[in-house]
Amino acid sequence: MQSHLPQLAPLRRECKLPETKTDLRIRGKFQRGKPVEFTFDGITVNAFEGESIATALLAADIVSTKLSVDGYPRGPVCHMGSCQECAVRIGGRKTLACKTKVSQGLQVEIDGLKK
């Protein structure tokens, strides 16, 4: 599928798992699940089993994850399944990124059309 987001520069970047100070993941308290790879709008994102899609995208510095009905960029707000601003598409079906866990090879697409 063609991306509708040519103007969103951050989305175009390859996402690595930084082990540096800029990494947002808190280490120490828990041993995360197995590393997995999925794609968001064609970009490969690294994550760990157990993480939600919204968490993995946040860690990869992808904050714009949806286009609103009028085509404005939006991203997750409530991280609890209430606001619906984290909607993405998996296999064509609308899913909440904050309520769906990542899995190996998952193909996640952006929701909404640019006007």
């Binding site: 808190i26 828990f30 041993q31 993480e51 994850t65 997750p76 707000v77 619906q84």
Partner: protein, 495 residues
């Protein structure tokens, strides 16, 4: 599939778990439903099953408390349905939930609703920019996903979560750029006597403040977000001084701060979709979070057999939630004839006095988080109010000026509140805007609750595909039975 129970409890937070355990101890057949994969609710939201705790991890009070609740739950006879979203509830009581494209129907004579709260975020210009996230949302990220929402965010809004989040970020190695508190230092100081009701929590709060002070983080009291700059990502944030009501003070200087993240929240709102569907009586109490179901001292609503416990009955925090859950469980057991009045009284009295004490602290916190109407005065006509439908403040004002006299009229005229979030995000704002015109929140009313309470796929509900099949399915029958008058035309045309 239909499951028949004595009691259904919706929501497995501290309130729901305590209610279910108490009722089950007294012999009721109980099912506890929650959409989360693990019990605990918001404050005790667990980390994913796939993760293992490191033994040398730092101590975490909320995690320990949550684990002990989960432990008692696993030792009980309660049927705990995880990953089940309740999408409809009918009088009598019939509860419908979906999980992974399967639907389940439960029936019971008694229903305890412990559905908790959602966060109130009042709009400001630029609040829809990606990178603006909730304060409560951040606690969720920090606790259950073990991730910083940002290393250097600006944190704004009201209530204790401001400092809880700032503290957690510092602990995890980040450094908030600034904290903008809607409340004044005075608001906090006058709260102190009430806060002594829960010394452990008070001390925890003071430690947070000390750590924030030590990290030399700017705390701006009586400040609100004036505007967020950036198109597809937050670039900077402008903060403005406000008065006690939240109204901007244009004579004082605004402050512009560079940061790619804004964490913001203006308190918590009880989740009342279920009690509204069941037509329980509700009252407006700003200091308890806004609209709340009318409850007696035994957690009973105005509908027979329907009880409410926890924050969805009025903001008061986790401790009160658990105690009110226990009371609701006791009352449901008594009303079902499982315990004598003597046993009920013996168990009720000590729990009630503990609950009342915890409430003194909790209600004060609720008050610190209550809505300040002046906060909406910085809106511009272009500011989006309803995020789902992209409806602006200007469009809503046009409707109000043209005579829309309550929330539902604004919704019908503008589509504001009609999107997939069911008005959970914009409902408070639209109600406040209408209130300015009509005088009070009672007159402004609230969005009528609708099924499905949460978006769910049609194939989960009706695995049949022609319109007539869907119409004749159970789903449609429930939907039309619950839906208000406006749908009767369609109903009649089908007769």
């Amino acid at each position: 599939m239909t499951l028949e129970q004595d009691l259904i409890v919706i929501g497995a937070g501290p309130a729901g778990i305590s209610a279910a355990i108490t009722a089950s101890q007294h012999g009721l057949k109980v099912t506890l439903i929650d959409e989360a994969p693990i019990a605990g609710g918001q404050i005790y939201r667990a980390t994913p099953q796939e993760w293992t705790p490191n033994t040398n991890g730092s101590p975490d009070q909320d995690l320990d408390d949550g684990n002990s609740l989960r432990d008692s739950l696993s030792k009980s006879n309660i049927t705990h349905l995880t990953n089940h979203v309740v999408w409809a509830v009918a009088p009598g009581f019939e509860v419908r939930a979906v999980s992974d494209s399967k639907e389940i129907k439960l029936t019971a004579k008694k229903l305890i609703v412990c559905s908790g709260v959602t966060e109130r975020i009042l709009p400001f210009p630029g609040w829809t920019t990606p990178g603006v996230i909730g304060l409560a949302a951040s606690t969720n990220l920090l606790k259950s996903q073990q991730i910083l929402p940002s290393r250097e965010p600006v944190i704004a809004g009201s209530g204790p979560l401001l400092y809880a989040v700032a503290n957690a970020i510092i602990e995890a190695g980040g450094k908030p750029v600034a904290i903008a508190d809607v409340g004044s230092l005075f608001d906090w100081v006058v709260s102190l006597p009430k806060l002594f009701a829960a010394p452990a929590l008070l001390i925890r709060g003071l430690i947070w403040r000390a750590r924030i002070f030590k990290a030399r983080i700017t705390v701006l009291h009586r400040h609100h977000v004036a505007r967020v700059y950036g198109d597809d990502k937050v670039e900077s944030i402008e903060l403005m001084p406000i008065d006690a009501n939240g109204t901007p003070l244009p004579k004082k200087k605004n402050i512009k701060i560079k940061s790619t993240s804004l964490i913001v929240g203006h308190g918590l709102i009880p989740s009342l979709e279920i009690t509204r569907l069941l037509k329980a009586k509700h009252v407006f109490r700003a200091e308890r979070g806004g609209w709340i179901p009318e409850l007696d001292a035994f957690q009973r609503t105005s509908v027979s057999g329907l009880y409410v416990a926890g924050d969805c009955g009025g903001i008061s925090g986790a401790k009160t939630a658990a105690l009110s859950g226990t009371i609701a469980g006791l009352q449901a057991s008594f009303d079902s004839g499982m315990i004598t009045e003597k046993i009920f009284q013996d168990l009720y009295a000590p729990t009630e006095s503990k609950r009342n004490k915890a409430e003194r602290f909790g209600k004060r916190m609720g008050k610190l988080m209550s809505i300040r109407s002046g906060l909406l005065e910085g809106l511009t006509p272009e500011t989006i109010v309803c995020r789902c439908e992209d409806i602006t403040y200007g469009q809503i004002m046009d409707a109000v000026n043209a005579g829309a006299a309550d929330c539902n009229e604004v919704k019908a005229w503008t589509r504001g509140g009609m999107g997939p979030c069911q008005g959970r995000t914009c409902g408070e704002t639209i109600a406040e805007i209408v209130t300015r015109q009509v005088g009070d929140r009672d007159k402004a009313g609230f969005f009528t609750a609708r099924v499905p309470l949460r978006p769910c796929t049609i194939d989960a509900l009706a695995p049949v595909c022609s319109y007539d099949d869907i119409w004749n399915s159970d789903v449609a029958k429930v939907a039309t039975a619950i839906l208000p008058a406006e749908n009767t035309e369609y109903k009649n045309s089908k007769k």
